[in-house]
C-alpha cells in the first residue's frame, strides 16, 4: 500500500473530486444516456464526412471549464481518435 502510494500521482481525494465534478454536471444538466448516445452518433457522422475517425473509441462528456459553483455554463467535450486526416 505504502509502496504503491509513492508511484501514484493523484491522491484519492483529488480523484474523488474530479469524478464528482464531471458526474454532477451531467446529473444537473439532466442529460439521459440515450441522448448522450444520440449526440455522439451525430457528431461521429458529421466528422466522418471530412476525416476517418475511430467512432468506437470516441468519448463525449459534459463538463465545466471554469468550475466552481452551480449555474455556470457547462461545455461538451468530445475526444475523437482520428485514423486518417485525409479521407
Amino acid at each position: 500500500m505504502e509502496f504503491a502510494r509513492i508511484f501514484r500521482k493523484k491522491s484519492s481525494r483529488e480523484i474523488a473530486k474530479d469524478r464528482l465534478k464531471i458526474l454532477l454536471i451531467s446529473d444537473r444538466v439532466n442529460c439521459s444516456p440515450e441522448m448522450m448516445e444520440m449526440i455522439k452518433t451525430d457528431i461521429a457522422k458529421v466528422i466522418s464526412k471530412y476525416m476517418k475517425i475511430d467512432a468506437q473509441s470516441m468519448e463525449i462528456q459534459i463538463t465545466k471549464t471554469g468550475i466552481k459553483g452551480r449555474g455556470k455554463t457547462p461545455s461538451l467535450y468530445a475526444s475523437i481518435p482520428i485514423l486518417d486526416l485525409n479521407k
Binding site: 502510494r5 484519492s12 481525494r13 473530486k17 458526474l23 454532477l24 446529473d27 466552481k68 459553483g69 452551480r70
Partner: protein, 263 residues
C-alpha cells in the same frame, strides 16, 4: 415564529437521524420548545436514538388517521422538558400519509413549538415528499464520499425547485487523519462542489456509536462530535460561531501513526 426544519440527505446511513436527535436536543437544551418528527414510516429509528422506544403509545400515522389527537402521540423527552418526539409507525408504509396531511399536522404543531424538526427517510420518493412538504428550511447531511455527495446534490436540486428559503450543509464523519493524508475530500472540497452554505462539520467520532448504544444524544458534552453538534445548534439559531479546528484535538495516536503516512 416557529421554524420547520427538515433533515435530509438522499443517501441512507449518512447520519440524518443522529443529526435530528442532536440538533433537536441541543435546541431544547437552549430553552427552545422543540418537537422531533420521525417521518420514516415503516423504518422508525429516531425513538431508539433518543432512548424513548419504550414510551410509544400512538404514532404519526395514528394522528393522520384520526385515531388520536396530536398531543396523545407526543412523547416527552427524558432529559429536557421542552423536547417532544412524534414517533413514526413501524407497521405501515409510506403511502399511509400524504404531503397535504403532513402540512396540516405541522400547522397544528406550529402553535405549540418554536422548532419542528423532521427526520427525513432516505430516497427521493413519497417519504421524502412527505417530509419536505411542510418544511421551510433544510439541513442537508452528507459524508465526504462520492456517493453521498452525489445524492446530496440531487436533493439540493429538488429543494431548490421547491423554493426552500434556507438550505444548509452538514458534513458528517469527516476523518482529519485521512484528510491530512490526501485520502479524503476536505470540507472545503465538499462545499465547493455542492455550493450551499456550510452550517457544521462533525468529525468521525466513536462516541456517536456509544451514544446511540445508550440512547442518549451527545450534543453539548465534551466529545468532538458533541461539541460540533452544539455549534450547529447555535448556528441554527443564527449565531456566528467559528468552526472548531479539530486538527489540534486529534488524538495523540493519530499523530504518531500519521508520521508513517507522510508522503
Amino acid at each position: 415564529m416557529s421554524e420547520v426544519i427538515v433533515v435530509t440527505s438522499g443517501k441512507g446511513g449518512v447520519g440524518k437521524t443522529t443529526t435530528s436527535a442532536n440538533v433537536g436536543t441541543g435546541l431544547a437544551a437552549m430553552g427552545r420548545k422543540v418537537v422531533l418528527i420521525d417521518t420514516d414510516i415503516g423504518l422508525r429509528n429516531l425513538d431508539v436514538v433518543m432512548g424513548l422506544e419504550n414510551r410509544i403509545v400512538y404514532n404519526l400515522v395514528d394522528v393522520i388517521e384520526g385515531k388520536c389527537r396530536v398531543k396523545q402521540a407526543l412523547i416527552k423527552d427524558k432529559r429536557h422538558p421542552s423536547l417532544y418526539l412524534m414517533p413514526s409507525a413501524q407497521t405501515k408504509d409510506k403511502s399511509a400519509v400524504s404531503p397535504q396531511q403532513m402540512v396540516k399536522m405541522i400547522q397544528q404543531l406550529k402553535e405549540q413549538f418554536d422548532y419542528i424538526i423532521l427526520d427525513c427517510p432516505a430516497g427521493i420518493e413519497q417519504g421524502f415528499q412527505n417530509a419536505i412538504a411542510g418544511a421551510d428550511r433544510a439541513l442537508v447531511v452528507t459524508t465526504p464520499e462520492v456517493s453521498a455527495i452525489r445524492d446530496a446534490d440531487r436533493i439540493i436540486g429538488l429543494l431548490e425547485a421547491k423554493e426552500f428559503k434556507k438550505i444548509d450543509l452538514i458534513i458528517n464523519r469527516l476523518r482529519y487523519d485521512m484528510v491530512k493524508r490526501g485520502e479524503m475530500m476536505t470540507a472545503s472540497d465538499v462545499v465547493d462542489i455542492l455550493a450551499i452554505p456550510l452550517i457544521g462539520i462533525v468529525p468521525d467520532d466513536e462516541n456517536v456509536v456509544i451514544a446511540t448504544n445508550q440512547g442518549e444524544p451527545l450534543v453539548g458534552n465534551g466529545t468532538m462530535a458533541g461539541r460540533a453538534y452544539q455549534n450547529i445548534c447555535e448556528r441554527v439559531l443564527g449565531k456566528e460561531i467559528p468552526f472548531i479546528d479539530f486538527e489540534k484535538t486529534i488524538s495523540f495516536w493519530t499523530r504518531v501513526t500519521g508520521i508513517f503516512h507522510k508522503n
